[in-house]
């Protein structure tokens, strides 16, 4: 039976292979159109410049961006990992009963303190 279990994942792997081939073959079609001279290919310095406002770009291509992004990444890490705890709990709740519900309430309450702190400190505001 374990064999069957892995066979399903084999099918998923096959699908991943097919899903990689689909976009690659479309890129190949486009490339073949270039070889057959259906698709133009005349590079020029202006064309291969980046799309901005028509002038040459001043300064580097990478700019500094707001510190806010890191805050959201941190919050995401904290709350997304809870999925690992919530999902198995959710599936087995029917058998586990009320005690498990109280435990999860306590766990979420602890996380909720952090969430309320982040709200109070203005981490959810975009300034």
């Amino acid at each position: 039976m374990l064999d069957d279990y892995y066979r399903q994942y084999g099918l998923v792997l096959l699908l991943i292979g097919a899903a990689v081939i689909v976009p690659l073959s479309m890129m190949m079609m486009s490339r073949m159109a270039q070889m057959l001279h259906i698709r133009p290919h005349k590079p020029s310095p202006v064309k291969s410049d980046i799309y901005e406002c028509g002038m040459e770009t001043i300064g580097g291509r990478w700019v500094q961006f707001n510190f806010r992004y890191y805050l959201f990444a941190l919050l995401f890490l904290v709350f997304d990992v809870t999925a690992i705890f919530i999902y198995p709990w959710a599936i087995t709740l029917r058998e586990l009963g009320g005690d498990a519900l109280l435990t999860m309430l306590g766990f979420i309450a602890i996380l909720g303190v952090g969430w309320a702190y982040a709200w109070r400190k203005g981490a959810f505001e975009w300034r």
Binding site: M1, L2, D4, Y5, R7, Q8, Y9, G10, L11, V12, L14, L15, A19, V20, V22, P23, M26, M29, S30, A33, Q34, I38, R39, H41, P43, P45, K47, S48, I50, Y51, E52, R61, W62, V63, F65, R68, F72, A73, L75, F76, F79, D80, A83, I86, Y87, A90, I91, T92, L93, R94, L101, M104, I108, W115, A118, W119, F124, E125, W126, R127
Partner: protein, 402 residues
């Protein structure tokens, strides 16, 4: 370990056909052949529905904006997606000098891949599916995150400031909406008691759209944020960021990004139909209605219904501001999803094995909670609205100036 592989009658039947065709020594190829046949059907179905979806979206949007939409290519403009494809193939493929070759190439490919791989666990019949993984729902929320990564790859690899800023915005928004999306599905898992999508569909004596209205709302909103659809398409806000992370993509690369974007609508509609509208079964309660259509057509019909809803949302709502979007995810959707999870958990603990009447009581309680939350939110918004009106009144021009 019990396996759901045996339930897969579609696979077994196809496998028998291949075993008959192949000689004894090549029997291992039957597995490959069967798998590839089902995959071929599924991938083609998704791509065809995507092509039709682009056509439908343009026609419906046209009607919403009191114009006709594409109607020149073929009957009723039905061949428009084909014309679009041909046009994209014959467009020059530009890559800016400053772009990073590998990431610039990988981004569109990975986008399409992540969109197509998700359909692996969507069942299209009681005994026909590709793989009924016992972590199905986790797979559904896990795989689309690859799109987030590829978005950042594309934005970073373009070597353009607008693209980089758009990608950073996209990632910040997508990961924020990931959290309520994950928590909202917990309510469904509590009711179904399994992560396998076949079990989730069979657990729906009453469609989960009725039993879990808050989860449906939260999932619909966060899914349309994950797809960068209209109220949340601010990472490609033309007026601020030209086109966001796909500014530099042209020709077929741009086509692949668009394919991924519209394909995600199809895939998300399939997920919504499976999780909330009983998947391949009829969305109504009487069991006799099941015979009216084959299960695959029930699923496709529901997918078209949700695609229409997404188009409707796009035609109706204006683009949100970034601060509104982020605050909405963390201050509204996340607590809503948690409330829904705990209400459902309490109900299930109270009635571990609900009868049909008790299920309808659950529906009532959940809708009451939903309406209560909506009222509370509206009242709190109303209080906040008072301040701007007062300040506006202060700067009003006196009448005697005229």
């Amino acid at each position: 370990m019990e396996s759901s592989f045996d339930k897969n009658a579609l696979f077994a039947n196809l496998n028998d056909i291949f075993l008959d065709l192949l000689p004894e020594s090549l029997s291992w190829m039957a597995y490959l052949g069967t798998g590839l046949t089902i995959i071929l059907i599924m991938v083609n179905a998704v791509l065809m529905l995507t092509a039709f979806g682009t056509y439908m979206e343009r026609r419906v949007l046209g009607r919403f904006q009191t114009r006709l939409g594409p109607n020149r290519v073929g009957p009723f403009g039905l061949l428009q997606p084909l014309a679009d494809l041909l046009k994209l193939i014959t467009k020059e493929d530009l890559r800016p000098e400053s772009a990073d070759k590998i990431t610039f190439f990988l981004a569109p490919v990975l986008m399409v891949t992540s969109m197509l791989v998700v359909v692996a666990v969507v069942p299209f019949g009681k005994d026909s599916f590709l793989a009924d993984l016992n972590i199905g729902v986790l797979y559904l929320v896990g795989i689309p995150t690859i799109a987030t990564v590829s978005m950042f790859l594309g934005g970073w690899g373009s070597g353009n400031r607008f693209a980089l800023l758009g990608a950073a915005r996209a990632v910040a928004m997508l990961i924020s909406y990931e959290v309520p999306m994950i928590v909202s599905l917990a309510g469904i898992l509590i009711l179904a008691g399994s992560m396998s999508l076949v079990d989730v569909v069979q657990a729906q004596q009453i469609p989960f759209i009725l039993l879990q209205p808050i989860a449906f709302f939260v999932f619909l909103v966060s899914a349309s944020a994950e797809m960068n659809r209209s109220p949340f398409d601010l990472m490609e806000a033309e007026s601020e960021l030209t086109a966001g992370f796909h500014t530099e993509f042209s020709g077929m690369r741009f086509g692949l990004l668009q394919l991924a974007e519209f394909g995600e609508v199809v895939v998300t509609s399939a997920i919504l139909a499976t999780l909330f509208l009983r998947g391949w079964e009829n969305p109504f309660i009487p069991a006799d209605w099941q015979q009216v259509l084959p299960p695959q057509l029930w699923l496709i019909g529901k997918m078209l219904f949700f695609m229409l809803i997404f188009t409707w949302i796009r035609a109706t709502l204006p683009r949100m501001r970034i601060d509104q979007v982020m605050a909405f995810a963390w201050k509204v959707l996340f607590p809503l999803a948690l409330i829904n999870m705990f209400v459902t958990a309490a109900l299930v603990v109270a009635w571990p094995d609900p009868t049909y009447t008790q299920l309808w009581i659950m529906v009532g309680v959940n809708w009451a909670v939903a309406i209560g939350c909506l009222t509370g939110y509206t009242l709190s918004r109303g209080r906040h609205r008072q301040k701007p009106t007062e300040s506006v009144r202060l700067v009003q021009i006196p009448a005697e100036v005229n």
